[in-house]
Amino acid sequence: MAALTQRLLNPARELGRYSLLLYHAATSLTEFGTYRQNLVTQMVRIGIDSLPIVSLAAAFSGAVTTVQTAYQLTSPFIPKTIIGSIVAPSMILELGVVVTGFILAGRVGARIAAELGTMRVSEQIDALEAMGLNSVAYLVMPRVLAGMIMFPVLYVAACFVGIGGGILTAQVGGYLSSGEFIQGARDFFTPFSAYFGLIKSVTFGFIITSIACYKGYYTQGGAEGVGKSTTQAAVMSCVFILFADLLLATLLL
């Protein structure tokens, strides 16, 4: 019975600790001098270093969506430009941001959790605190901020590359010309789609980096603990991205 109670209370305890870490991080926002240099480093690691893999995934997403849409449109009464009208909004509203989110959850989330987890179990975080440094301001703040700043940049890049991949595939595959594709994309484009994607990208950036920081910062139990934190950070980020995606779509669309 006691074990069952503990099991039921664990999510509440985790939520409480996560909230406290975020509160601590928010109150550290004013200590810009502590995290300024780390912020730039993290923006490069999270943003610039992720650009190749995000671009690759986005290009293939755009290309595959184009091929599949063309495959399903068999009726001669539907204009070919509709392919562009489907692929471009799909990238802007959903694929660009979710594909980027999943890639960053694996690439960035796992790295942050492993890095902070190793620092925790080797007492490096204790060493920072013992020196009188605010370890949350120094380690957590720059990572979360960098995630929220760089995810939208990656999202925009993913949309351009994804749509570009779609155009290239349409042209090479002989489905429609690039002009027809762009015309179709323009017909159904609404600026709100882009705003919605940007809102989602900032939210996903926050989810991935804050969960990874939380899991890494509170790692326990040596190398095994680091492995566990890393896996949990990646898996939980993906799950919460899906929930946030649904919630934001329900609230904003």
Binding site: T34, T118, S122, E123, Q124, D126, A127, E129, A130, M131, G132, L133, N134
Partner: protein, 254 residues
């Protein structure tokens, strides 16, 4: 002066500290000894507020560190240098940057001044030529000495040592002991050393506190230890001699 009053701490309902009281005088080297799991390292982490007690208080120069606000606590921590059990060097930096880190973060001196101070600290721990080496390129003993150089870089008033000789061979342990003794004399600091190595105790201690099952069971000087009659303490000391393997190398405590 550090005063620990009636300190209690439990983890998941398992009591670790059960009413620990201890006074550490200025410029003293207090060595806390006890078996593994007796609560020594937990006690050390309480001294700088890395752990919060369930009950009791710790006064550092009259300031209750558990009632201090986070900013005040961080200010207070700058008076402490801590040598962690594994060194806790930042593995993303080389030795020079590790020692320079507190100076760059909190100091007001120029980069030239920082360079000079880092070399002074590395000289003090007899490692003048390892500045460009990463922690992974150093032996365990060298890592601890670089970590000690980092701990003293801001000229702390208190130095805390968590098992400074654990995992080291006897010769390197002696080097660390000599270093602790020399730094105590040269820097005029108050030192608190957590260890279960009786060689270290006899080499460096001004005063000794024996912690057993979460309580301070005995305190005294090295001379007092020779005349101690506490059976649990004597059993601990004898067990340590047995582990060392050559009783003639240790002081006669019988």
């Amino acid at each position: 002066m550090i005063k620990i009053e009636n300190l209690y701490k439990s983890f998941a309902d398992k009591p670790v500290l059960k009413g620990v009281s201890l006074e550490i005088y200025d410029r003293d080297t207090m060595v806390v000894i006890g078996r593994s799991g007796s609560g020594k390292s937990v006690l050390l982490k309480h001294l700088i507020g890395l752990l919060q007690p369930d009950r009791g208080r710790i006064l550092v120069d009259g300031i209750d560190i558990n009632k201090a606000k986070y900013r005040e606590l961080r200010q207070l921590r700058k008076d402490f240098g801590v040598l962690f059990q594994g060194g806790a060097l930042f593995d993303s930096m080389d030795s020079f940057d590790n020692v320079a880190f507190p100076l760059r973060t909190f100091g007001t001196i120029s980069e030239d001044g920082i360079k000079k101070r880092v070399h002074e600290c590395l000289d003090l721990v007899n490692l003048p030529d390892v500045g460009d080496k990463r922690p992974s390129e150093l032996s365990g003993g060298m890592q601890k000495r670089v970590a000690l150089a980092r701990a003293i870089s801001l000229e702390p008033r208190y130095i805390l040592y968590d098992e400074p000789t654990s995992g080291l061979d006897p010769e390197t342990s002696n080097t660390i002991d000599e270093l602790i003794r020399r730094l105590d004399q040269q820097l005029n600091v108050t030192s608190i050393v957590i260890t279960h190595d009786m060689h270290s105790v006899l080499a460096i201690a001004d005063r000794i506190a024996f912690i057993h099952e979460g309580e301070i069971r005995w305190t005294g000087t090295v001379d007092d230890l020779h005349n101690a009659e506490d059976e649990v303490l004597l059993a601990f000391v004898r067990a340590n001699e047995y582990q060392i393997g050559d009783p003639s190398e240790t002081a006669d405590l019988s």
